[in-house]
Point group: D2
Chain length 292, copies 4
C-alpha cells in the first residue's frame, strides 16, 4: 500500500494534482471458483480493458485448468470477453498481473462543459438510452425536478453523485441481482452497482451520456476497509471532449482504478455470465501497490 | 397489391416455396411530422437496413426540408441512424423508395437446430442478455416451465410464438411506451412490439439468441386491414447457422418484410428518439407492390 | 345547473362560506349495462354512502331487471355493497334518486392541525398503511424529500395536492387499471383515480391518514365539461378532529360531492367487481341540480 | 417438546386424526427489543387472536417497562392491536403465556368443496381482492393457466401449495420487506411470508377467499430446526363452510399453530409497525410443549 501522507490526503480533495504525476505499479488479480454440476458455457469479462493494455507490465488473460477450452472476443462495447466451456467439477478462473498507473486520483474538472446532444460524438449516443437496470423513461421527471436547477456540465453530474451518495445506504446483505435504478430510488439501499445505476440513469435523463464500468479499485491511501477486497463498479460521463470517471458510492477521487469493462449497465459487463447452473464457491480479488 | 390466389394462400402455410421464387417490387415510404416548440436533436432509424441496400431500386435516406441539418452514422447494431437538428416549427421526415423483394414468405425450416451456447458465434451472444424491455432474469423460471418440454430448436421458438400469439390480445388503445415483457406477461394485452418483446425474452431465457426488428410489412396477399398502415415489429432468432424471422403477433409467414433496424429491443431501434419536447402531428406509412 | 355567478366564483376561492349555507337538491343516478356471456356474480358499490343517507330525498338502491337476484351488505369500511347474480344476457344496473346538499364547496381550514400518530383515533390507523395501489413503503423517501419542509397539517396536504395536480397530466386514453401510485409518480399521467392514489400515498408516507373515496361530483358552477359525465374519485385526510375532502385532480373546493364509498384505494371501492367475464356496454351517469 | 413417536409421524401424513384428539399445553412468548432514538408510536400485533382466547391458560398482553403508555384496540380484521408510545431509549416488548391446544395437526379434508362466489358469506369477499403484496390483477392469467385444470376445491388449493412449495426456494438472507407475490413468482426465492403471499394470490385469482395469518408454530414432532425460533406465517382459505389452514412453505399439516392475527397480507398483520425510526436489537420467540 502507498504510505499514508500527502498522496492519501490528496484523494479526499477535489483538486487534480496536475503537476505531481507519480507512477505506481499495481499488482492485481483474482481467484474465482465455481462448482459446476454439468458442463456449462460461461462468458467472463475479467480481462484488463484494451484501453489499459499498454499499461500492462505482465501477461493478462483468464487462466483455467489444463483441458478447459477457452476463447476470446471483443464485444460491441470494446471489452475483452472470455468464453469458457466449463466441464463438470471445479472451475477455477484466476489471474495475477501488474499494471502501471499514474498514481493520480481520478481527474476533476469543474469547468468541463456539457455537450449539447446535437454535438455529441455518434458513439456516445447509445449511452443516453434506457437499459435493463437504468429506466431513463421512468426516472426522467424526477431527474429534472431534482437536478434541473443544478449548473450544467460537471456541476450537474457532481450534484447527482452527491445526491445518490447521501440518499442511498450501502448494504452488502441487501444486495440483489434484479435491483434496477428505480428500485434503488424507492428502496434507498444497495451495493456499489446500485449507486452507479441510479447515477447513470439520472445523467441519461438529463441528456448526459453515462456508461457503467467495472474494474479494480484498491483501497490505496485509505484506512483499512472492513470488507474483503472485491471488484468495484463506477461510471463515466461524457463532458467537454472526453469521458470522465465518477463514483456515486465513494463520491471522491480515488487512486488506482484499473478498468476491465464498460457498458450500458451491469448486464453488459457481468464478471461472469453462466448459461446454466453453477455455484460460486470462492471469490478472491487482490489489488495492491508494488513497492519497488 | 399482389393479386389474391396461390401466393396469398401460401403465406398461411408453413412450407417455404423454395422453387417458385418470384420477384416483386415494393414501393415504400413514410411522411412523419413533428411540431417542435424549440430546437431539438432527434435521432431517426428510418432507413432501409444495410443488409437490404442491394435490393434498393431508388435512393434511400431521410428527407427533410431545406436548411435542416442532418448527418448519418451506423450504430453498434449495424443500423443507419439519421441525426437531425430540428429547428422550431414543423419538422417533416419523409421518404419514398422502391425495393426489390423475393416475394417469398418468411422462410420456414422446422429442422433448424438450436445451437448450444458454447458454439454460438460471438456476435450472437449479446442477444441472450436482458435489456430494458426484455427481463430475462425475471421470466426465466416461467419460460422453462412453459417451454422446457417443447422440442429444441425451431419447434421451441414456434411454441413460444404460438403461446404469445394466443395469450396476448392486440389492442392499439392500450399501447404504452413503458410496457416491458413482464408487463405483457401479466397484462396479456399489447401492440406489435409487446408481442415481440415477450417472445424475444422467452427465447433468451432458453438460451436462444433473439433480436428485435422493425421495418415495413405490407398487407400483401392479405384481406384489407382495418387499421391504417404502420411500421411493423418482428423478431429474429439464431438457429442452425443463421437468423430466422419470427412474428409472435401475426404468427404466420408473411411476404414483403423490409427490415430497417435491429437491436436488443425497442429502445435500440426507436423510429425516432427526440432529446427534448416534440409532438407527433402526422404519421403516414406506405408499402405496396408495384405492378409493372 | 346552478346559475353562474357568485356561487360559481366562490368555488374557486379557498374561503369556506360559513355564513351563507344554501340548500340545494341534486338529482343523480346511473345506467350501466353489461353483456354477460354466462352467469356471473358481481359486487357493486353504487349506493349512496350511509353517511349521506339522511340527505336522501328519494329511495336508493341498485335497480336490476325482474328476476335478477340481489342482496346487500355493509363492508368493513362501512360501504353498502350490492351482490348480484347476473344471468347470461344483458345486465342493467340503474338508479335515480335525489339528495339534499348544503350547496357549500368542500370546507377549507388552513388551521387544521396534523394529529400525532400516537393520538390518532384507532379507526384511522389502517389508512396509514400500504395498499395495492398505494405503495407507502416505496414512496416514503421521496415524500419526505418533497414535502418534509412543508408546514405540517393542512398546508402539507395542500402542498401534496398542488404537486400532484401540477406534475400529473390528465389523460383518459392512457387510463389503465393496474397503474399504482408509483406508476403515477414515474409516468406522470393518469385519470382521476391516479391523481388521488399518488396524493393518498404521499399523505400516508408522512403519517397523515388518507382514504380514497368515490361518488358523484357535478360540474356545478363550472363551465361545461368536454367529457361525458362520470363518477369521480377524491380522497379524505384526517386532520384536527375529522376527515376533510381533498381532490388532487381538480385541486379546488367543489360543490355537490355525494360520496358512495370509501376505502384504502380503488380496490376497495370498485364500482363493480365481476367474478368472471362481462363486458361493459353502456355507462351513463347523471348528476344535476334540481331547480325547484 | 412432544416426544417423537406416533404423533410426530402423524404430522407428515395427510389424514386428520379425528378420533385421537389429544390435549397439549404450549408455553409461548417473545422478547423483542428496539433501540428508539426519539419517542415513536408503535403498533404491535403480538397478542393471541381472540378466536383462541378461550384456550389461554395464563394472562396475555404485550408487557412493557413501567411508565410506557399502551392501549389496545381491535382492528377491522378482528385482531388485537397494541398501541405503544415508545419513549427514547430501549423499548422492550415481551410476553409469556400458556395455551391449550388439541395437539392435532392442521385438519385435512380433501372433500371440502369450493363455494361459488355467489354463495360465499359476505365477510369472505374482501379476501378475493388485490392487496399490497398480492396482485390478483397481475397474476390471474398465470393462475388460470397453472391451476385451471386442477380439481376445484381442496385439490386446487393443495395444487397451489405444492407448486409454490416446489418452485420457491427458502432463503433468509434474501428476505426483503417490499417483495410482492409477483416478485416471488419471478424471483422464486423468499421467506415464509413470500410463500404464503404467492399462494394467497393464486387462490384469490381463482375466486377462492384466502387470508394471511401470523402466529406461533412450534417445531413440535419435527427434527431440530437449524434456524432460531421465529414467528411463522401461513394462510387460510374458505372452502365448504369454514376457513382451513394451509402453509405453502412447509406444505404439510403441523401441530401447534396458535394464531395471532389475520389480514389481507403482511401489511395488515405486521408484528410491529413503527411510525418513525427504531432499530430492532433483540428478537426472541419461544414456543414449546409443557410436559405436565
Amino acid at each position: 500500500m502507498r504510505a499514508p501522507g500527502p498522496a492519501g490526503e490528496a484523494t479526499a480533495g477535489l483538486a487534480p494534482r496536475m503537476n505531481t504525476r507519480l507512477v505506481m505499479l499495481i499488482r492485481l488479480g483474482y481467484d474465482i471458483h465455481f462448482d459446476v454440476p454439468s458442463p456449462v458455457p460461461i462468458v467472463a469479462l475479467l480481462s484488463i480493458h484494451p484501453s489499459r493494455r499498454h499499461d500492462l507490465r505482465g501477461p493478462d488473460g483468464v487462466a483455467v485448468d489444463a483441458g478447459v477450452e477457452t476463447s476470446e472476443y471483443v464485444d460491441a462495447f470494446g471489452n475483452i470477453c472470455t468464453r469458457i466451456l466449463a466441464p463438470a467439477g471445479l472451475l477455477r478462473l484466476s489471474n495475477v498481473t501488474t499494471v502501471l498507473d499514474s498514481g493520480d486520483p481520478d481527474p476533476v474538472n469543474p469547468e468541463a462543459r456539457e455537450v449539447p446532444v446535437g454535438e455529441l460524438p455518434h458513439e456516445t449516443l447509445r449511452y443516453l438510452l434506457s437499459s435493463r437496470f437504468c429506466e431513463v423513461d421512468l426516472l426522467s421527471a424526477a431527474a429534472v425536478e431534482l437536478f434541473g436547477d443544478a449548473p450544467r456540465g460537471w456541476g450537474r453530474v457532481q450534484a447527482i453523485c452527491n445526491w445518490v451518495h447521501n440518499k442511498v445506504t450501502f448494504s452488502y446483505p441487501q444486495a440483489r441481482s434484479t435491483r434496477t435504478a428505480l428500485d434503488v430510488f424507492t428502496e434507498r439501499v444497495g451495493v456499489c452497482r446500485d449507486f452507479q445505476h441510479l447515477a447513470v440513469t439520472f445523467c441519461r435523463c438529463l441528456n448526459i451520456p453515462a456508461r457503467y464500468a467495472t474494474g479494480y479499485l484498491g483501497d490505496i491511501g485509505v484506512p483499512p476497509s472492513p470488507s474483503p477486497m472485491d471488484f468495484s463498479a463506477w461510471f463515466e460521463v461524457y463532458l467537454e471532449d472526453r469521458w470522465w470517471t465518477f463514483d456515486a458510492r465513494h463520491n471522491r477521487p480515488r487512486i488506482g482504478r484499473i478498468v476491465m469493462a464498460r457498458g450500458r449497465d451491469a448486464v453488459d459487463v457481468a464478471l461472469t455470465t453462466s448459461f446454466g447452473p453453477s455455484t460460486l464457491t470462492n471469490f478472491t480479488v487482490v489489488t495492491e501497490e508494488v513497492l519497488e
